[in-house]
């Protein structure tokens, strides 16, 4: 029983991180049709910012804020510099552009910072565990769980009740009509990217806290998985993206717990395979609507 609850908490914590990444990806995709393969590099930027600010002896809370800010600014810059020229182009054009941007940033990190993993000195209280009844819950898991829940609630509030949030949701539904309502496209794109940068930044913090190091390629795998979560949730559906993220987290933790040890090396392959198999049953994803004519 205890192990089950323990695993449930782990699944929610990991799934929450994927959900944050997936939500950022889905937001950008549904508003401008861009599959942003460089999203992982936003995560990496956030992580490097954290590394340097801790290295330069900033207070920890300031380092956290700085890391998030860095990710947000980088995201907005990325939209402005790299994606604006291809904004009206086809999905494939935008996808390949982001592919190239991602590669350039990876090489830049390798040359300007370090090709090797750098250890991040996280404060020691994060390494501890909290006892709840007979349960030992890792501090990081607990924080990840709490922060994800708080952030998702906050986003629900923003999307429901603020003008910015409603415009964002409207644009995700139907971008052209939203523009006709007098909402500025540039503001929308910048907003969507800023938000996705923020989400990537938060995800980066938990990722680094868990693993204790930063490397130039750290963003690739989690973001790829988050992408697959987005598809499984249903491309274009924000709620679906979050659901897909949690589903992925649950599958990974379940495999980690249940898989015999000689199959453990295949863990990543199996979890990706399982989640792609969902698409065999529902090609449009869990919450995706069937587009007209595609069946």
């Amino acid at each position: 029983m205890d192990i089950l609850i323990q695993n449930l908490i782990n699944a929610l914590a990991l799934g929450g991180t994927y959900a944050l990444l997936a939500l950022g990806l889905a937001l950008v995709f549904s508003i401008m049709g861009l599959i942003n393969l460089a999203h992982g590099e936003l995560m990496t930027i956030g992580a490097y910012a954290l590394y340097f600010m801790i290295l330069w002896a900033f207070p920890f809370w300031l380092a956290l804020v700085g890391a998030l800010l860095c990710a947000v600014v980088a995201a907005v810059l990325m939209e402005r510099v790299a994606f604006r020229p291809v904004r009206d182009a086809s999905m494939a054009t935008m996808l390949l552009t982001s592919f190239a941007v991602s590669a350039i940033l990876q090489v830049a990190y390798q040359n300007l910072i370090s090709p090797r993993p750098l250890p991040v000195a996280m404060p020691s209280f994060l390494g501890g565990a909290v006892e709840i009844g007979s349960l030992q819950v890792g501090m990081i898991q607990l924080l990840a769980l709490g922060c994800t829940a708080a952030l998702l609630l906050l986003l629900v509030w923003v999307f429901r009740y603020t003008a910015f949030g409603v415009a964002m949701r409207a644009a995700a539904e139907d971008f052209d009509t939203t523009r006709l309502m007098g909402i500025r496209a540039n503001a929308l794109f910048a907003g969507a990217f800023a938000l996705s940068g923020l989400l990537a930044g938060v995800a980066a913090l938990f990722w680094v806290a868990q693993r204790g190091s930063v490397d130039p390629l750290m963003g690739f795998l989690p973001v790829l998985k988050a992408f697959i979560a987005v598809i499984v949730g249903g491309l274009g559906s924000l709620v679906g993206a979050v659901a897909g993220g949690f589903l992925l987290g649950a599958i990974e933790i379940a495999l980690r717990a249940l898989l015999p040890s000689d199959l453990l090396p295949y863990r990543d392959a199996l979890s990706l395979l399982l989640i792609i198999l969902v698409l065999l049953v529902r090609p449009q994803g869990l919450m995706g609507r069937r587009r007209e004519g595609v069946r």
């Binding site: 494939a92 552009t97 190239a100 590669a103 090709p115 690739f220 598809i231 004519g293």
Partner: protein, 622 residues
């Protein structure tokens, strides 16, 4: 011969592409410079893989990041067969006895290895071929990661992340050349084949391709398996040229450079694949030398990681920002030549031969109690409607009455929430739209859906080959019918133009010509006269009447142009708020009080002429 069989034409096109390949191979051979021969060999091997990716991504429009995984599988499968058994015993303890004893020649091993890759691709493709655009691209990326971690995880079969070495070095420049030539010819023939044409149509517009009776998923699956087999072939050669394999070799960097080659050259043509492979290989070679030398004009440069990656990224970005469709655009080199020649010579208009009748037998389309709900909104509520063979039926109603939804339900673009649709007594309720199309039902769309980057002729051809599916060369078989239709709809002069470049009127005509090319027994037209002036809509009227007279086709016309509807149709059905409110000959319907009310509201009782005037003004203002 104005229209030689397309197969011969494509074979010629492929032959043209082999010339530069042969020149490069010869030049490398003559120079007998080891580095040059090696660069040329690797370039030819890359070309095989690039041609493979082109077959899938270029024709279907779904970008694949996964083909390098098939290269890896091909390489490892072949290595299991060709490695000396003593080395296999040492490095690959888990290999089954059947394999660990085998010491085949690479030229033999390549066949089972490529076949195994094709089987793997078939299994994977059952999922991936169902996904379009964005979802498909990401799923292939997932495939890359899955295969990579399998290769690393299966220690006893692959030696994990350590290098597997000792593969016989049985690939030289000319083996690579022959295989590259095979790959280029296959890719070029596939692109020009009927299957390739259908897949390209689905790349341009999937709903329209389905409405033309194309089984898009099946076409994607076929291309996927062929392209994976080519990638597998490239992998086998790669392994037996270098003699060493690591999973890392078949991962992100390789994917990146192959995609860069395809994109820089132009994804949609094999010409692009060849050109891109040449150009990018040159760039990579240049940058690699630069990386090694490290000094420019006596100044020692700091060590740079990934200079080639930067170079490739910049090349991709330059193409994306400036060219979009790559160096070669949407035309193969031989197509470009033909078009240039055709531009100089005057196009001899083919004599219009009447298309043979599709037959007027059958009982018509019968809709019974059709319902469609979108969430809480009921767009179509309990509609029963018949379209009899050979009749012209008008369907009118105010905006939002459910007319287009009804067409979507009949043609299978949407699945009804309730009720039945039967075509000539075959119950087609819930069938996918491509199967309904094959039952003899064609349609046009309210917002024109053409295959933009295909030529006018190819647009009609895609639909016409539906009836020639059994022929050896369906495109050649359908050619006379296509000529006749182009002439009939006044499009013969424009036959070579990309459909997307036509003016509005010809675009509408082309869409109808494409639908007629399927030789349907029933044709649904969704607002064919929208945006047309009176002269154009009169011409359309005559065209549709002639089409009916010659083929005995049943027409269902939705339009707001009441003048057209009243003159064209023998029977008119009026819908409002998802229901049929009136039905009958045009004269009776015009004066029906329900219809007047639907168009003008309850208080206005101005009579039929007022209703007509009002509706006409409305349609001319649109």
């Amino acid at each position: 011969m104005p229209f030689a069989p397309t197969f011969a034409r494509d074979l010629f096109g492929a032959g043209v592409l082999l010339v530069p390949l042969a020149l490069v191979a010869l030049a490398a051979q003559v120079s007998s410079d080891g580095a040059l021969v090696s660069a040329a060999t690797l370039m030819l091997i890359s070309l095989i893989a690039v041609a493979g990716v082109q077959v899938y991504s270029g024709n279907s429009g779904v970008i694949s990041f996964g083909h390098v995984a098939f290269m890896g599988l091909g390489a490892y499968f072949a290595a299991w067969l060709t490695l000396p058994s003593s080395m296999k015993a040492r490095m690959l303890p888990d290999l089954p006895a059947l394999l660990s004893g085998a010491e085949l020649d690479m030229l033999v091993a390549v066949f089972p290895a490529v076949a195994a890759v094709a089987c793997a691709a078939l299994a994977v493709g059952l999922t991936i071929a169902r996904l379009d655009g964005a979802a498909g691209a990401i799923a292939t990326l997932g495939l890359l990661v899955i295969v990579y971690s399998l290769l690393i995880g299966a220690q006893g079969l692959t030696r994990g992340s350590q290098a597997l070495f000792g593969l016989p070095l049985s690939v030289d420049l000319w083996t690579a050349f022959v295989c590259a030539a095979v790959a280029v010819v296959l890719a070029r023939l596939y692109r020009g084949s009927n299957a390739g044409l259908q897949l390209r149509a689905s790349r341009e517009d999937e709903p329209a391709a389905l409405a033309c009776g194309i089984d898009v998923v099946r076409r994607r699956l076929g291309a996927w398996v062929l392209s994976a087999a080519l990638a597998g072939l490239a992998g086998v050669l790669y392994g037996h040229y270098l003699g060493v394999l690591t999973p890392r070799a078949f991962y992100f960097n390789m994917t990146f450079s192959l995609l860069a080659m395809l994109i820089v050259g132009g994804m949609t043509t094999v010409t692009g694949a060849v050109a891109g492979t040449f150009v990018v290989s040159l760039i990579v070679e240049g940058l690699r030398r630069f990386e090694q030398v490290g000094t420019i004009g006596g100044v020692t440069m700091p060590e740079l990681h990934g200079l080639t990656t930067i170079g490739l990224s910049v090349a991709i970005l330059a193409v994306m920002y400036k060219l979009r469709s790559g160096l070669t655009g949407y035309l193969e080199i031989d197509e470009r030549w033909r078009r240039a020649r055709a531009g100089r010579a005057t196009v001899g208009a083919a004599a219009p031969t009447p298309a043979d009748s599709a037959g007027t037998s059958g009982t018509g389309i019968a809709c019974r109690g059709l319902v469609k709900r979108f969430g809480g909104v009921t767009a179509v509520a309990d509609v029963s409607l018949d379209l009899r063979p050979g009749e012209i039926l008008g369907l009118i109603g105010p905006n939002g009455a459910g007319k287009s939804t009804l067409l979507a339900l009949v043609s299978g673009t949407l699945t009804p929430s309730g009720g039945k649709v039967a075509i000539d007594e075959t119950d087609v309720t819930g069938w996918p739209s491509y199967r309904i199309a094959r039952c003899g039902l064609a349609r046009t769309f309210q917002n024109i859906r053409l295959f933009q980057h295909l030529s006018v002729r190819e647009n009609v051809e895609v639909a016409a080959t539906l009836n020639a599916a059994g022929a050896i060369d369906p495109r050649a078989e359908a050619a006379p019918a296509v000529d006749a239709l182009l002439a009939r709809f006044d499009l013969a002069e424009l036959a070579g133009r990309p459909a997307g470049t036509l003016a509005y009127g010809p675009q509408r005509r082309l869409e109808i010509a494409r639908a007629a090319a399927m030789r349907p027994r029933y044709l649904l037209l969704d607002e064919p006269a929208a945006g047309m002036n009176q002269t154009e809509s009169d011409a359309l009227l005559r065209m549709l009447q002639a089409l009916r007279a010659e083929t005995g086709i049943g027409l269902l016309v939705v339009d707001h142009d009441l003048r057209l509807i009243m003159r064209l149709c023998e029977r008119v059905v009026v819908m409002n708020k998802g229901r049929v409110i009136a039905e009958g000959p045009p004269e009776t319907v015009q004066t029906d009080p329900n219809v007047v009310e639907a168009y003008l509201g309850r208080r206005a009782r101005g009579g039929a002429s007022a209703a007509e005037d009002r509706a006409e003004t409305a349609s001319s203002q649109e």
